[in-house]
C-alpha cells in the first residue's frame, strides 16, 4: 500500500493506493488539489470563488459551475438545511480568514441571513446582491472524489480530505478501514464518508464559543446536542451534505432519519444508525 500526505484546502489530504508505485499519481493528485483550491478557496483573492463573491457574477470554469450546482441541488434536497450562502454568517462568527490565522477576539459574533438566490445558467453563476458563497465542506468532498478518480487509474485507492473520504476499488483486506474515533473503525467498500462536528475548527468571540457549522435558519453556528456526525453516502459529496444535515438536526432527527451514520452526542454517547453494525 502506497501512502502520501499533503496539505491543501486548509486540511490534510491523506492518500492510499494499492500499487507497486504511485509517485506519479500522488504528484498528479497534489496538482489537482492545488488547482481546485485555486478555484474554490474563499481565502485566495485570486480564486474564481473570490471573484464571484466580489463581483456577484462570473463565467465560471466547469468545476466551479459543477460544485455550485451540486451545492444548490443539496440545498433543494435538504429543504435549505444545507446552504452554500453561509459565507457572511461564517465571517460574522469570526471565520473571516484561514482557520490557522483566526485569533481570539473581544468583538462579539454577529448573525447573517442565509438562503440567498443563486442561479447557474450553463457556466454563468449569479448571486443575489448581498450574498456570498462558501464551498468549504462540499469543495473538499468534491476534491476527494476528483482525486480518487485520478488515483483509481493506478489502483484501488482511498482519499481523505480531512473529514471527507472517497474510495475507488477494494483493497486486498476487503475494505477500507476508516477510524471514526479511538474505539470505532468503519470498513468502507464503496461510496463516501464524511464527518462534520464542532469538536474542531472552533474559536471564541467575546468569550462565546463559535464553530464553523452554520445553521442557515439562524445565520449562526448551529446549536445542537451533537458534537460530531460521521455519515456514509453515495460519494464524499453526498456524505458531506448528509453529515451536515444530520448534525444541524440533532440526535433525535438523525436517529429518525435512520441513514448510515455515527453520532457523537454532547453527553458522550456514540450512537450508530442506518444499519451500521
Amino acid at each position: 500500500m502506497q501512502r502520501h500526505t499533503f496539505q491543501a484546502m486548509g486540511t490534510t489530504f491523506e492518500l492510499a493506493v494499492e500499487a507497486a508505485d504511485a509517485k506519479e499519481a500522488f504528484a498528479e493528485a497534489e496538482a489537482e488539489a492545488e488547482r481546485l483550491e485555486q478555484i474554490m478557496s474563499r481565502f485566495r483573492p485570486g480564486s474564481e470563488l473570490s471573484q464571484l463573491n466580489r463581483d456577484g457574477t462570473i463565467d465560471a470554469s466547469p468545476d466551479l459551475a459543477e460544485v455550485v450546482a451540486l451545492a444548490l441541488d443539496a440545498r433543494e434536497r435538504t429543504g435549505g438545511r444545507f446552504d452554500p450562502t453561509v459565507h457572511d454568517a461564517l465571517v460574522g462568527a469570526g471565520y473571516d480568514r484561514t482557520f490557522d490565522d483566526i485569533a481570539e477576539s473581544a468583538a462579539p459574533a454577529s448573525a447573517s441571513a442565509c438562503g440567498g438566490r443563486v442561479t447557474v445558467t450553463g457556466r454563468r453563476i449569479e448571486l443575489e446582491p448581498g450574498f456570498k458563497l462558501d464551498l468549504g465542506g462540499i469543495g473538499k468532498g468534491f476534491a476527494a472524489e476528483r482525486i480518487a478518480q485520478l488515483l483509481a487509474l493506478t489502483g484501488p485507492s482511498l482519499v481523505s480530505a480531512g473529514g471527507d473520504v472517497a474510495v475507488r476499488g477494494v483493497p486486498t483486506e476487503g475494505t477500507w478501514a476508516v477510524g471514526v474515533d479511538e474505539t470505532l473503525t468503519l470498513g468502507l467498500t464503496h461510496g463516501g464518508l464524511a464527518t462534520s462536528g464542532r469538536d474542531r475548527r472552533r474559536w471564541t468571540r467575546a468569550g462565546v464559543e463559535q464553530h464553523h457549522l452554520i445553521d442557515p435558519s439562524t445565520g449562526r453556528p448551529a446549536e445542537t446536542d451533537l458534537v460530531r456526525v460521521t455519515a456514509i453516502g453515495t460519494d464524499a459529496v453526498d456524505a458531506e451534505v448528509l453529515a451536515k444535515v444530520l448534525f444541524l438536526g440533532g440526535s433525535d432527527d438523525a436517529l429518525a432519519r435512520d441513514v448510515p451514520a455515527v453520532l457523537v452526542t454532547d453527553d458522550g454517547r456514540t450512537l450508530t444508525t442506518g444499519g451500521l453494525r
Binding site: A16, S160, T175, W176, G179, G187, G197, R200, I232
Partner: protein, 113 residues
C-alpha cells in the same frame, strides 16, 4: 425552262410518293392486331393471385391484432393491480449500507473537515 420546272415537280412528287410508300409499308397493315403479348396475361394472373393472398394475410393480421389487444388489456390490468400492491404501505427495510464496523487498524482517521 418549262422542262426544268416539270423535272423539279417530278422529283418532288417522286420523293413524296417514296416516303408515303415507306410509311405505309412500315405500318405493317397486313399484320393482325389480335396477337396478344403472353406476358400480359401472365402478369394479370399473377396480380389476381397476389390480391387473393393479400386478403388472406389481412385476415390473419386482423385476427392477431385482436388477440394482441385482448392480451394487452389483460397485462395492463395485471400491472395496475401490481402497482397498487407495491404502493400500499409496507414495512421499509433499510438497504445494507456500504460500510460496517470492523476491527481492522484504521488506515486513516476521519475528522471534521
Amino acid at each position: 425552262m418549262t422542262n426544268q420546272i416539270a423535272r423539279l415537280w417530278t422529283v418532288v412528287v417522286g420523293v413524296v410518293v417514296f416516303f408515303l410508300a415507306w410509311a405505309a409499308i412500315a405500318a405493317h397493315p397486313w399484320q393482325t392486331a389480335a396477337t396478344a403479348d403472353p406476358r400480359l396475361s401472365t402478369l394479370a394472373a399473377r396480380q389476381q393471385v397476389l390480391q387473393r393472398e393479400s386478403l388472406q394475410v389481412q385476415k390473419i393480421v386482423d385476427r392477431r391484432w385482436a388477440a394482441y389487444r385482448v392480451a394487452l388489456a389483460q397485462r395492463t390490468a395485471q400491472v395496475q393491480a401490481q402497482a397498487q400492491t407495491v404502493s400500499a404501505p409496507v414495512p421499509v427495510t433499510a438497504a445494507a449500507p456500504p460500510a460496517r464496523i470492523v476491527s481492522l487498524p484504521p488506515l486513516v482517521i476521519t475528522r471534521t473537515s
